[in-house]
C-alpha cells in the first residue's frame, strides 16, 4: 500500500510540476498588449520599440513574429490560445472576410482619424475593422548606370537618350530588345533578372504583374467607385487584357538572364542578387526589396542609380500610368480581448504612429511610407525605392494603379495562375490555355 501511495505521489508531483511550470511562464508574459507581427525583417525593431514603450509608459508589449509565409497558420493557432494576440494583421478584404469574427470596430479610434485617405481602411456595415499602416509600391526597378551605358552606345538602334523618355510598352520593348542585342558591350548577362517561378517564389507574376491587366479590366467595367471593392464582388473575370499580360511576360522571359526552361528553379532572392551584382539592368519588384538589394555582398549598384519604371503593358493611354501602389498590411484589434487590452493596444499603435520616437522608428528603422497624416513631408524613409514611390504618388500627371490584387480570390487562385505561367514558360502550355486556366480558377474559387 505504501509503495502505491509513493507512486501516486511521484506521478502527481510530475504532472503538477509540468502544469505549474506552464502556469508560471504564462503569468510572467501576461502583457496587456500582444502584437503578432507579420514582417520577419522588422522583428528586432518591434522588440526594441516594445522596450521603449514599456520604459515610457510602463505598459508591457509582447511581440511575437510569425516566420515568413506562416502568418495565417500562426494566427490560427495563437488566437485560439488563452492569451491571444490583441493586435493582429489581416492582408486586405479577403483576409478580413476570414477573420471578421475577431475584428473590433475601431471607427472611433484616434488611429482611424490619422488616416489621410479614410477609404483605405476596411469598412463593413458602417464600421471600420482594419487600418492599413504602410503603403508600398512596385514597378520595374532599373539600374540607371547600365541604362546610361546603353544610351551612350554608338551603335544603338533606338533614338532615346534618357529613361524619362520611355513612356509606353513599345518604347520599353525597343530599348530592352536592343539592349539584349548589345549584351556584351553593356557587360550584362541579360536585361531582366530571372523570372523566378519556383514554388512560393512566383508572386511577382501571379499577383503583382496580373494586377495590371485585371485593374484595367475592372476599372473599365466599373467606371465609378472603388475598383478593389468591385473586384471583390466579381464572380467572374474575362481577362480581357490577356494579350497585354502576355506581352510583358514574354518581354521578361525573352530578355532574361536565365533560359526559360530553368526558371522553375529560381527564387526571388536569386533575381534580386543578379540585379544587385549588376548582371542585369532591370527587375520587377517593390520598395520592400531595397534591403535585399543593399544586403547582397559585393553589390555594385549605388543607391543613386536605383530608379523605378511603371509596368507598361501596351494599353492605350499608358503614357500617364504610374507605378502600382497599395497595401496588404492592415492592423486589426482582437474583438475577444478584454476592454482594457483593447484600449492599451490602440494606445500603443497611436503612440507608434504619432509620437516623435514612434515616428522616428517607423520612418528610419522600419522604413515605412505610412498613410497617416501625423507624418510630415520630411518624415519619409530615405531609401531610393521608397523615394521613387513617393515621387510617383506626388506626381499629379501620373495615375497610380491601386493594388486590386487584394481582392483576388485567395492563395489557390494565385497558385493556379503561377502553375499555368510556369507551364507556359517551359513550353508545356499555350497562352490560350493559360488564359483559360486563370479565368476558370477565378470562377471556381469564387463559387
Amino acid at each position: 500500500m505504501k509503495t502505491k501511495f509513493t507512486a501516486f505521489l511521484l506521478a502527481a508531483a510530475l504532472i503538477f510540476s509540468c502544469f505549474s511550470l506552464a502556469g508560471c511562464t504564462s503569468k510572467k508574459n501576461a502583457a496587456l498588449v500582444y502584437f503578432l507581427n507579420f514582417k520577419p525583417e522588422s522583428a528586432a525593431v518591434y522588440e526594441e520599440l516594445a522596450d521603449k514603450y514599456e520604459a515610457e509608459t510602463g505598459v508591457k508589449v509582447k511581440v511575437v513574429t510569425a516566420a515568413a509565409n506562416t502568418y495565417e497558420q500562426t494566427l490560427k493557432s495563437e488566437i485560439a490560445k488563452s492569451n491571444p494576440p490583441t493586435i493582429f494583421q489581416v492582408n486586405g478584404p479577403i483576409g478580413y472576410d476570414n477573420w471578421d469574427d475577431y475584428c473590433l470596430n475601431i471607427k472611433d479610434s484616434k488611429l482611424y482619424s490619422y488616416l489621410t485617405d479614410k477609404s483605405l481602411a476596411i469598412h463593413d456595415d458602417g464600421g471600420v475593422y482594419a487600418i492599413p499602416y504602410v503603403v508600398e509600391g512596385y514597378g520595374i526597378i532599373y539600374n540607371n548606370a547600365i541604362m546610361k551605358r546603353y544610351f551612350a552606345l554608338p551603335d544603338k538602334k533606338t533614338s532615346f537618350t534618357d529613361m524619362s523618355e520611355i513612356k509606353n510598352f513599345r518604347d520599353l520593348k525597343a530599348v530592352v530588345e536592343d539592349m539584349t542585342a548589345h549584351k556584351k558591350a553593356l557587360a550584362i548577362e541579360g536585361v531582366f533578372a530571372s523570372t523566378s517561378l519556383s514554388a512560393g517564389e512566383d508572386w511577382r507574376w501571379q499577383t503583382h504583374l496580373l494586377n495590371v491587366p485585371i485593374y484595367y479590366e475592372i476599372s473599365q467595367k466599373h467606371k465609378e467607385g472603388d475598383p478593389t471593392l468591385a473586384l471583390l464582388d466579381a464572380d467572374e473575370i474575362t481577362l480581357k487584357y490577356s494579350e497585354n499580360y502576355r506581352k510583358i511576360f514574354d518581354l521578361y522571359l525573352n530578355n532574361s538572364i536565365t533560359p526559360k526552361n530553368l526558371l522553375g528553379s529560381k527564387s526571388v532572392a536569386d533575381s534580386m542578387a543578379e540585379f544587385a551584382l549588376g548582371k542585369v539592368a532591370m527587375v520587377q519588384n517593390g520598395n520592400w526589396s531595397w534591403s535585399q538589394i543593399s544586403g547582397v555582398k559585393g553589390n555594385t549598384v549605388t543607391a543613386e542609380d536605383i530608379k523605378m519604371l511603371p509596368i507598361y503593358t501596351d494599353i492605350d493611354g499608358e503614357e500617364s500610368q504610374g507605378v502600382c501602389v497599395g497595401t496588404e498590411n492592415y492592423l486589426a484589434i482582437n474583438k475577444n480581448a478584454t476592454a482594457e487590452q483593447q484600449k492599451a493596444s490602440l494606445a500603443f499603435l497611436e503612440w507608434l504612429f504619432s509620437s516623435d520616437i514612434g515616428k522616428k522608428y517607423v520612418t528610419e528603422k522600419l522604413g515605412f511610407i505610412t498613410p497617416f497624416n501625423t507624418f510630415s513631408e520630411n518624415e519619409t524613409p530615405s531609401d531610393p525605392l521608397a523615394r521613387e514611390i513617393t515621387r510617383y504618388m506626388k506626381d499629379e500627371n501620373l495615375k497610380i494603379i491601386p493594388w486590386v490584387f487584394n481582392a483576388f480570390p485567395g492563395e489557390a487562385f494565385k497558385k493556379a495562375t503561377g502553375d499555368a505561367l510556369l507551364d507556359y514558360a517551359q513550353g508545356k502550355k499555350e497562352w490560350d490555355k493559360v488564359k483559360d486556366d486563370i479565368v476558370k480558377a477565378w470562377k471556381s474559387e469564387r463559387d
Binding site: T3, K4, A7, F8, L10, A11, L14, I15, E72, Q73, K76, I79, A80, I94, D97, N98, W99, D101, L197, S198, A199, G200, P259, N261, L262, L263, G264, S265, G410, E411, A412, K415, D419, A420, L422, D423, Q426, K428, S444, E445
Partner: protein, 280 residues
C-alpha cells in the same frame, strides 16, 4: 495486488496523459471538425458531410494526389525494401569495415526531410541544368526525384532492421541446409527470408506508412510543381487547409479520408505478412 496495477500511475499514467493531449484529443477534435466549417477550432459550425463531398467534387486535386501517392508508394516500397535487404545481406557477411558502412548508410536518416529536400533539389537541378531542364520541367523528374530522395533517406534505417533480423537466423538451420547441399538462392528463399518474416512485416509497415504520409520532402523538393502534378496527399491536405479561405473543413475531411486509407492499407498488410511468419 498485482505489480502491473500497482505501478500503473508511475509508468503508464504520464505517457497516457501525454498521449491523450498530443494524440487522442486532437484526433477526436479533428474528426469532429471535418463535419464543420471553421476558421479556428473555437468557431466551428456543423455542416454535415458537405466537406466530404467537396473533397472529391470541387476539383480533381485530391484524386490526382491520391493516384500520384499510390504510384509513388508502390515504387518506393519495392525499391527501398529490395535495396535495404541486399545491403543487409552484404553487411552481415564478414567484410572489413561493416560497422563503418552501416553507419554511413544510416546517416541520411538523421537529416530532416526539409533539409534533404533542398539538398536534392540542388543536386537534381545541377544535374539537369546542362540539358536545359529543371526539376519542375516535367512531373517525371519530380516523381523520380522523390523516389531517389526517399530511398536515400529510408534505406539505411530499414537496413538496420533487416540486419537485426538476419543476425538472429539460427545458424544450425543454415548449417543443416549447407550439409544437405542447398545452393545460395535456395537457402535465401527457403530459409533466410521465411526466418526474417517478422522484420519484413515491420519494414513493409514502416515503408508503406512513410511513403503515404510523406510531406516535408515533397514540399521542399517540388512543392507540387509543375501545376500540382507532383503533389502528394499530405501536401494537398495542407494546401487545402491553408491555401483557401473557408476550406479548412474540407482539408480536415481530406485528412480523415487519408487516415482511413493509410490505416486500411497498413492493417491489411500487417495481417497478410503476419500469416507468413514462422514460429521458431
Amino acid at each position: 495486488m498485482k505489480p502491473l496495477k500497482r505501478y500503473f500511475p508511475i509508468f503508464v499514467l504520464p505517457t497516457l496523459i501525454a498521449f491523450s493531449i498530443a494524440f487522442v484529443i486532437p484526433f477526436i477534435m479533428g474528426l469532429y471538425l471535418s463535419f464543420t466549417e471553421f476558421t479556428t477550432v473555437e468557431n466551428a459550425t456543423f455542416v454535415g458531410i458537405k466537406n466530404y463531398i467537396s473533397a472529391f467534387t470541387d476539383n480533381s486535386d485530391f484524386l490526382n494526389a491520391l493516384w500520384f501517392t499510390i504510384g509513388f508508394a508502390l515504387v518506393s516500397i519495392i525499391t527501398i525494401n529490395v535495396f535495404a535487404f541486399i545491403l543487409a545481406l552484404l553487411l552481415t557477411r564478414k567484410i572489413i569495415g561493416t560497422n563503418l558502412f552501416r553507419t554511413v548508410f544510416f546517416m541520411p536518416n538523421l537529416i530532416g526531410g526539409i533539409v534533404l529536400g533542398y539538398i536534392w533539389q540542388l543536386i537534381i537541378n545541377g544535374v539537369l541544368q546542362p540539358f536545359g531542364y529543371a526539376i519542375t520541367s516535367d512531373e517525371r523528374f519530380g516523381f523520380w526525384g522523390l523516389i531517389v530522395l526517399m530511398n536515400w533517406q529510408m534505406i539505411g534505417y530499414i537496413m538496420i532492421i533487416y540486419i537485426a533480423g538476419l543476425t538472429s537466423v539460427p545458424t544450425d538451420i543454415l548449417e543443416a541446409a549447407k550439409v544437405d547441399g542447398a545452393g545460395v538462392f535456395t537457402t535465401l528463399f527457403r530459409i533466410t527470408i521465411p526466418s526474417v518474416m517478422p522484420s519484413i512485416t515491420i519494414c513493409l509497415f514502416l515503408t508503406i506508412t512513410n511513403s503515404f504520409k510523406m510531406f516535408d520532402q515533397n514540399l521542399a523538393l517540388t512543392a507540387g510543381a509543375p501545376s500540382g502534378r507532383t503533389k502528394m496527399l499530405a501536401l494537398d491536405i495542407y494546401e487545402t487547409f491553408y491555401g483557401r479561405v473557408g476550406y479548412e473543413g474540407v482539408g480536415q475531411a481530406k485528412a480523415v479520408i487519408f487516415f482511413l486509407i493509410v490505416a486500411a492499407i497498413a492493417l491489411t498488410q500487417l495481417i497478410l505478412t503476419r500469416r507468413k511468419e514462422v514460429e521458431q
